[in-house]
């Protein structure tokens, strides 16, 4: 047998092997099959997955700004005695095209304010009124004792309550596949006796993104 022949066979076998390996039924290559371990990320920064709607970093930025602004307002932040405020989502409307839980905005605002106000504001938990009413009732029925706090004549009434609105304006370019969403979030504190708006704040931002052409 000649020496050239084995080399030829070797070449052929190698080629066939390569060809087969290129076509082989390999185990399906799943994107990131082993997954990604849990990582803790700063919610005030844009995350690895984002779109054009309202996201964590927007909620943090807007509530931080509103909190500072509200505390700097003399009507609310420097009143004596400390005014009672109700901050919840009851009168905070979502008219935007973003599906979201409004509580994530109002809860953060209330908690941030409560921690920063240092007694300058009294927060009324109107969202817990049912819970308080039930406890008051069984205390007065003698089912439970009166606790260590003195009994109050009634639950606290509010001086001011948060109102607001989330709106958005979407635009799309069929030519480029770009989508833009202008998000506007307004916050207002309403005097619960007169209806006067004693403080207003607005937070707005525009986000633009463009899908790969294959998805347009």
């Amino acid at each position: 047998m000649s020496r050239a022949l084995p080399r030829t066979y070797f070449g052929l076998v190698a080629a066939v092997t390569l060809a087969l390996s290129a076509c082989q039924t390999a185990p399906p290559a799943v994107v990131n099959a082993p997954g990604t371990p849990t990582t803790i990320q700063d919610p005030s920064l844009r995350g690895p997955v984002s779109g054009v709607g309202i996201e964590a970093q927007d909620i943090i930025a807007m509530t931080d700004r509103m909190m500072r602004d509200m505390l700097a307002n003399p009507t609310i932040g420097a009143k004596t005695p400390a005014p009672r405020v109700i901050i919840d989502a009851e009168y905070f409307y979502n008219e935007s095209s973003s599906r979201l839980n409004k509580n994530s905005i109002t809860d953060r605002l209330r908690v941030s304010l409560n921690r920063s106000a240092s007694g300058r504001l009294v927060f009324v938990g109107r969202q817990f009124a049912d819970m308080v009413a039930k406890e008051r009732e069984i205390k007065r029925q003698g089912v439970v004792d009166s606790g260590t706090n003195p009994l109050a004549r009634a639950q606290l009434g509010g001086d001011y309550r948060l109102g607001g609105r989330i709106t958005s304006l979407d635009s799309r370019s069929p030519a480029t596949g770009q989508i833009s969403r202008y998000n506007q979030v307004t916050f207002e504190m309403i005097d619960l006796e007169t209806g006067q708006i004693v403080w207003s704040g607005i937070y707005e931002f525009l986000k633009t993104a463009q899908d790969d052409v294959i998805y347009r």
């Binding site: 080629a15 779109g51 709607g53 799309r172 790969d212 052409v213």
Partner: protein, 427 residues
Amino acid sequence: MIRARHVPGARHRRAGWLLLLGALALGGCATIGAREREMEIPPATLSGFLAGKPAPLHDLYAVLLRQGPRNAVLNQMRVGLAATDLGATDAATEALDQALAGIETVYAQSETAAKARQLWYRESYKDFKGEPYERAMAYYYRGLLYLREGDFENARASFKGGMLQDAFAEDAQNRADFALLAFLEGWASHCLGDQALARQSLDEAKTLKPGLSLPALDHNVLLLAETGTAPVKVGDGPRHSLLRYRRGSGFSEASVRFRVGDTARPAFHVEDIYWQASTRGGRPVDYILEGKVAFKDNLSTAGNVMTTVGLATVVAGAANRSSEATIAGAAVTMLGLIAQGVSGAVKPEADVRAWDTLPDGVHVLTAALPAGPPRVEAVFFDAAGAPVRGMTRPVPIQFAKRCGIGWVRSRSAVPANPRAPGTVPGG
């Protein structure tokens, strides 16, 4: 030791064989990539995944797991709709939320999307997000779930999100013309008591569908009925590179009447899903696929010519005992085969994966009914106005806050085949 005798042309022959093998490998290489195949799931993993999920949907969930992220949005859409039909609200909510998360993901600088643009990959290599009508319908179904639970604000946001998906039509007159979604956006505002916003959206719906009756101020119940089967995606044109639609078939129901107590009221045919699918116009990706077809065809033609000429040269060389002509002919033949092989590896087919459990049409009626309303039934009629035999369905009404909703389909949303069309290449 016997030394090998040098054979003139042996090196050329070996090279030729290798070239031939390479061409065959390229041309005959299985066209189904690993990413497009279903994964084998260990039974323990599968049973763990299915635990707690509605039993009638186990096959769908299993396919969701096996087909992985490439078809996740599509499979979640099918699971979500089937779960909605079965009344499994939690499963439906979870599935549709995940589908919408996939739809809202912006695919920029995505490796899979980039590959789907390449010559060697089908368009269906990309992660499925659906065509605009499919995306819009995912928002529609999610919005209905919000309506059921009385979250009218997020319902409205969903319907708005659906309308946005319809904003990419190439044909301007068919852009953002989803009357169903405009109507429902108005209905959500109506349920919120925001009549100004309600009127704005309802007027838009009325402009799109002039025959549509708008809800009166005292209307508190929305009745929706879905008829027929989903539009069918077809790979048409050269090399199946053009995405076309056919109306779903195998159904005769065309209209609906809601029987409330003793009275039957006709529902308005507010949306034609086939029409929404088929009037979008061209897609930007069509130009990419067109380029793939041109490349494939040109290369194939060149390969054919080279193979023919090469073989003719080989024959002529053999007849004339000219080894040079034979070698040259063989080389040209090899190049021709390579060109044909490369051409065969180009994949210009349009992505025909489709949400096949969608209806053909959606019909709507609003009414003022007391909570705990009388029995409501939907009676389906064919195009001639005759009732379709055996097609009368009870319509349970779910009230939340100030509004109620009844939703019914003429056909089950639980598919007979757990795999959506086009999700198994070559299958």
